[in-house]
């Protein structure tokens, strides 16, 4: 294939698809009880220097209980697929991230991410490679398909391309210019879902972001779920299963696991606490105080929920019309 142009960004995590196939071959296909706590799942599967990814988005169906545990255990030098709001923000604030394949880190309507800005501007992030949203998702899709790269028509002609690790090649059929992006295999994927059984068959309601692709691009996949349900409940609606059990390594029951983010049809986001983070994160000192208050000083997710309080959580539930209501 004729390479016409190449982005100058580093390929942070080169994909070895044959090793991935071998790994997948060895993953148990038996139905095994994979229930464990956040502490156990993070301790077993997340390691210093791991390349991790989170889905969906820091205020929406986001694995906050898992990310908080990563911070508690101080897993450091993380490399990350950077598509996020709160979850990437707190990891950056805890100084745990070293390299980023970045598409967007910000706070949406609340503006830029101050921890991201500090980590970039003081050089603590050693590599920041740029991508578009779709490019990063297509990288997961390539892995999900089991192929080394995918063609796309995003990023052409821009600095987003120049600072990426994408390439431009001659379309071997049509002869035009087309961009290609390399498969991305995560060491660990963290995904929060509405319901899963103890084996890891997982279902989500509402839009699915890039959940299906990322789940299939993860060597190790930790699922946190609002509730663990009997397998019969999954089997009654198998069309809703977006992540089948054999992809999954750990199933963590985490009610309000996305808090202060939202969970479709279940609870609204906690605007007061998000605003508290927006203010706190503006300074290094404020960020550390927030992390002390909501992460370091609380032993686990149960303690976190106790600290937030039942009344407040019920109020967030009350703000959302359930799926069948």
């Amino acid at each position: 294939m004729n390479i016409l142009d190449a982005g100058q960004g580093d390929l942070i995590q080169p994909a070895d698809l044959d090793a991935f196939r071998k790994h997948n071959r060895e993953k148990p296909k038996a139905m095994i009880d994979k229930r464990m706590t956040e502490a156990e799942a993070v301790n077993r599967f997340v390691f210093d220097g791991a390349y991790i990814g989170t889905e969906l988005y820091g205020t929406v169906r986001c694995p906050m209980s898992l990310v908080n545990e990563v911070i508690r255990q101080g897993k450091t030098d993380l490399r990350m697929a950077g598509q996020g709001v709160l979850e990437t923000d707190v990891l950056l604030a805890a100084h745990l991230v070293k390299e980023l394949d970045l598409t967007y880190i910000g706070l949406e309507v609340y503006g830029i991410s101050h921890p991201f800005r500090r980590e970039m501007e003081n050089g603590r992030i050693e590599k920041c490679v740029e991508w578009s949203n779709a490019a990063l998702a297509w990288r997961f899709k390539a892995t999900a398909m089991g192929v080394p790269f995918l063609p796309m028509r995003s990023m052409l002609g821009t600095d987003t391309f120049k600072y990426s690790a994408a390439k431009v090649v001659t379309d071997p059929y049509g002869g035009g210019r087309v961009a290609i992006v390399p498969a991305l295999i995560l060491d660990v994927g963290l995904i929060h879902v509405h319901r899963a059984d103890m084996y890891g068959n997982a279902q989500i309601d509402g839009i699915s972001g890039f959940c299906a692709e990322m789940a299939r691009a993860s060597r190790r996949l930790i699922i946190s779920t609002e509730k663990i349900v009997p397998s019969e409940e999954i089997r009654a609606k198998p069309d809703r299963t977006i992540i089948p059990y054999y992809l999954v390594d750990a199933v963590v029951e985490a009610p309000f696991g996305s808090h202060p983010g939202e969970m479709y049809y279940t609870y609204a986001r906690d605007e007061d606490q998000i605003k508290e983070w927006v203010e706190a994160s503006k300074t290094e000192q404020g960020s550390q105080a927030y992390l002390n208050k909501y992460v370091y000083s609380l032993e686990d997710h149960a303690a976190y929920l106790d600290f937030i309080g039942q009344e407040r959580l019920e109020k967030l539930e009350g703000m959302i019309a359930g799926r069948d209501r």
């Binding site: 002609g157 987003t160 210019r177």
Partner: protein, 255 residues
């Protein structure tokens, strides 16, 4: 400029809303495009198809989303899918309009939302492309919404996050981007701008109410194409303002 009847956010929202024709597909982000989409649905475009990048298609914008992945982005929608279904739909030519923002824009409509200064040693690090580059690559027509000053309207952006016409006529096609796509309008606090057909450079079309052509020129950091005939964009109507304030953003999240 506003004579106190409306603020600049309301002016941007009403102006952008009029650029969303009924029965078209529009890629919207949070903030002003979403308010404009909701206003358009209630004014002249009941069948406007709002598309959100994390999977919402055809939502009825009764409640304002505050996150591009939030539940309101697929409220009573025709489908709730995922990110790639949305961008692939745009990539195969189904999305008519895309709305964009950025920290900087240049005469060819290239947008920067990645970094001010050097990429490795930034003066100010910004969020990055997100879906911006995808929207700017695949939608048939893109519309940028900007506050208008010389800091934002610059001869050369520090970083091209999202492609406009790149270096001029033919450059998008030469780069491999889909043909006949590109920037269409820029809605600002001072003007509505388009692009000159031959040069692909930004051209003044209309000034906002009470704004002079000179004011627009003074607040633009590059040479604008100024046609002989520059119109004035009508101010927000009482009806637009009423719907915007009483229905679209009744909780005053944005305006």
């Amino acid at each position: 400029m506003s004579e106190g009847r409306y603020n600049t956010s309301e002016l941007l929202i009403c102006t952008a809303s009029r650029l969303m024709p009924d029965k078209t597909t529009v890629f919207v982000g949070t903030g002003i495009p979403m308010l404009a989409g909701s206003l358009a649905q209630k004014m002249h475009a009941p069948d406007l198809v709002a598309i959100f990048e994390f999977g919402g298609t055809g939502a009825i914008l009764e409640e304002l989303p505050i996150a591009v992945g939030g539940q309101r982005t697929f409220h009573r929608a025709v489908s709730a899918s995922g990110l790639l279904e949305i961008i692939e739909t745009a990539q195969r030519g189904f999305v008519d309009y895309g709305f964009l923002g950025g920290a900087q824009i240049d005469p060819y409509g290239n947008l920067n939302s990645t970094v001010i200064g050097d990429h490795a040693k930034p003066k100010a690090r910004l969020p990055g492309s997100g879906g911006g580059n995808d929207v700017g690559s695949h939608c048939w027509r893109t519309i940028a919404i900007m506050r208008h000053d010389t800091r934002r309207f610059v001869e050369q952006v520090d970083f091209i996050t999202t492609p406009g016409y790149l270096t001029g006529p033919g450059a998008r096609e030469a780069a491999g981007l889909p043909v006949d796509t590109g920037p269409y309008r820029v809605v600002t606090t001072l003007a509505v701008l388009g692009y000159e057909e031959e040069s692909k450079r930004m051209m003044l079309l209309e000034t906002q109410p009470g704004v002079s052509v000179d004011e627009v020129v003074e607040n633009t950091g590059f040479e604008l194409v100024i046609p002989d005939d520059v119109g004035e964009n009508p101010p927000p109507s009482d009806e637009e303002l009423r719907i915007l304030r009483d229905e679209v953003d009744r909780n005053r999240l944005y305006i």
